[in-house]
């Protein structure tokens, strides 16, 4: 039996990139009183990724997280974490997971230190000194060391959230599940949380839900968007931000454009050009099949006499743009 933490962490690092998904769901559903709050969900979360789980309120994010932790039972389908079934092996799963609930509730009479000790004791029997050192480390991490021995009932919302983040990490989790980790934090607190998440990537997998899109864009490598209980978008963040139309260059031009337009259209690597007008300029959205050839050739082809290029860029989306399209338009951008 594995009785130390060290081998587990070592294994975690060695096996990086060559392991089955940490989280896998197959047609996972949840129904409350006849209402399907989570429609068949198929997810795969790979090791050492930072997986952003997005969606408006009521989209099913927290329900999914609770299903993964075995806090609620699925109405259909299945889910596994570390290859273990979330219904029958939830305690074993939770022994390898750190979890921050959306609204963390602790025993109000306990201090922050006692709370972390209580949590640590679910994982570690000893040695006492190592546990206390780990608690100090966590208090330091979330900047609660000066308030470590005050009862939680005196804590503000932000301080509770920080304590929640600390208690989720006290066991060196292989998977960190954070439900709205930056909620109730000020901008500095938010930045710190994102830094912690980025730092943890080499040791652990981070699965977190949020509605702060900027945070997701900054740290996530994979994103899922849920809406009304259904998965609407899933993929690596670079692909999402690239959009659904393939690789597109936006070019603002003025002058004699007909000949250049014809030349561009005749290139085998150009799929099409959408032309528009804006403030007396012509805008071309040039779809290409090969970005390397396009980068090498496209700008050269625009250097004709009589053509003035005022803007040239590869089209990319902001996550917020994609999110709004998906949520408001019901449109799948992928």
């Amino acid at each position: 039996m594995d009785t130390t933490l060290q081998p587990r962490l070592m294994m975690n690092l060695v096996m990086k990139g060559s392991t089955p998904p940490v989280i896998e769901t197959h047609s996972l559903t949840k129904t409350y009183k006849g209402v399907e709050v989570l429609k068949p969900l198929d997810l795969q979360v790979h090791q050492n990724s930072i997986f952003g789980f997005l969606g408006p309120n009521g989209a099913g994010k927290t329900t999914t997280i609770k299903l993964l932790l075995g806090l609620i039972r699925p109405s259909g389908g299945s889910a596994s974490v570390f290859g273990m079934d979330t219904v029958n092996q939830s305690v074993d799963i939770r022994s390898r997971v750190g979890y921050l609930p959306q609204e963390p509730h602790f025993y109000e009479h306990l201090t922050a230190r006692q709370t972390l000790r209580f949590v640590a004791r679910f994982f570690f029997k000893g040695p006492e000194k190592a546990i206390e050192e780990r608690i100090d480390e966590m208090l330091e991490l979330v900047d609660l060391n000066e308030k470590a021995d005050r009862p939680i009932k005196t804590f503000s919302g932000g301080e509770r959230q920080r304590l929640g983040i600390a208690q989720a990490q006290v066991n060196y989790p292989e998977l960190l599940i954070l439900d709205e980790p930056a909620a109730s934090l000020d901008p500095i607190g938010r930045r710190d949380v994102l830094e912690v998440m980025s730092r943890l990537r080499k040791y652990t997998t981070v699965f977190y839900s949020t509605h702060i899109l900027d945070d997701v864009q900054r740290v996530s490598d994979t994103v899922v968007i849920l809406n009304k209980g259904a998965l609407v978008v899933q993929g690596p963040i670079e692909e999402l931000l690239a959009g659904s139309e393939g690789i597109v260059y936006i070019i603002h031009v003025k002058g004699q454009l007909e000949e250049t337009h014809m030349q561009l259209l005749s290139q085998p690597w150009v799929c099409g050009i959408i032309t528009g007008q804006h403030n007396g300029e012509t805008t071309w959205q040039v779809s290409v099949t090969d970005p390397q050839v396009a980068e090498a050739q496209l700008f050269k082809m625009l250097s004709n006499d009589g053509v003035v290029v005022t803007e040239f860029r590869r089209k990319s989306y902001e996550l917020e743009e994609i999110f709004m399209q998906v949520i408001e338009g019901g449109q799948n951008v992928r």
Binding site: T3, Q6, K66, L71, V91, S95, F118
Partner: protein, 266 residues
Amino acid sequence: MSGNIAFELVSERSWRRGLNNLLDNEFAGWWKTRMWWIQCLIWVGLIGFIVGTALFGTPGARPSLIDGVDLYAIIAGIFPAVGVVIIMQDTLVGDKKDGTAAWVMSKPAARQAFILSKLIANSLGILATMVVIPGIVVYGMISIGVKASPSPLLFLLAFGLIFLSLLFYLTLTLMLGTFFKSRGPVIGITMAILFLQQYMIGLLPVLRYVLPWSLFVDLSNPNVRAIVPSLLTGQPIYSYIPIICLAVESILFILIAVWRFNREEF
């Protein structure tokens, strides 16, 4: 991360997973707070005062052992039951309502361990503060008051029966706490059972075998004396069935509580 520090991982498995930690937490709630001495003060004060008044309240009167133990049985058997219901109605429903149960269950702790920690820690707290300590005080008072020492062994057996009766209310309240999300129905149902027993037994006499009442209160049938006073005065008890029934019911309540809590969604 100080991942190079080697920790000894917990080795509890299955239904015991997290039990030691949860028990420590529940025991701390009893013994590292004001809870234990407040409960001691209440029950020593209340039971001691009432029994003491009966024993020493009338100058010149010579109280009998029967008077003393009859009163003790009623007071110790019924009054602390109210305390048990009040304490226990909050222990599970409170944790469910304030979200701490969901938080604890997100850790590697078995649900059975959660229920058992509540059962064990509260049982021992109640045994000590509501049964044994006030009982010892009353034993001393009766010894002085009637100028004869009742059998300590019989008193210990009586403590056991009083505790069994309180365990009935404790497990009943715990079980109801797994079914309801608010305190009202839990406290309402247990209090109704507690205070309507005499009436219920009057309507359906067979209930005297399944409710704790007949352990402490003489029933209308003059040949049927309450079990605890009979025991304390060395008289034969009319039936062991109520004792067996209470034990079985308490076990049943716990099994149902565990079953129901396993199905709870947080």
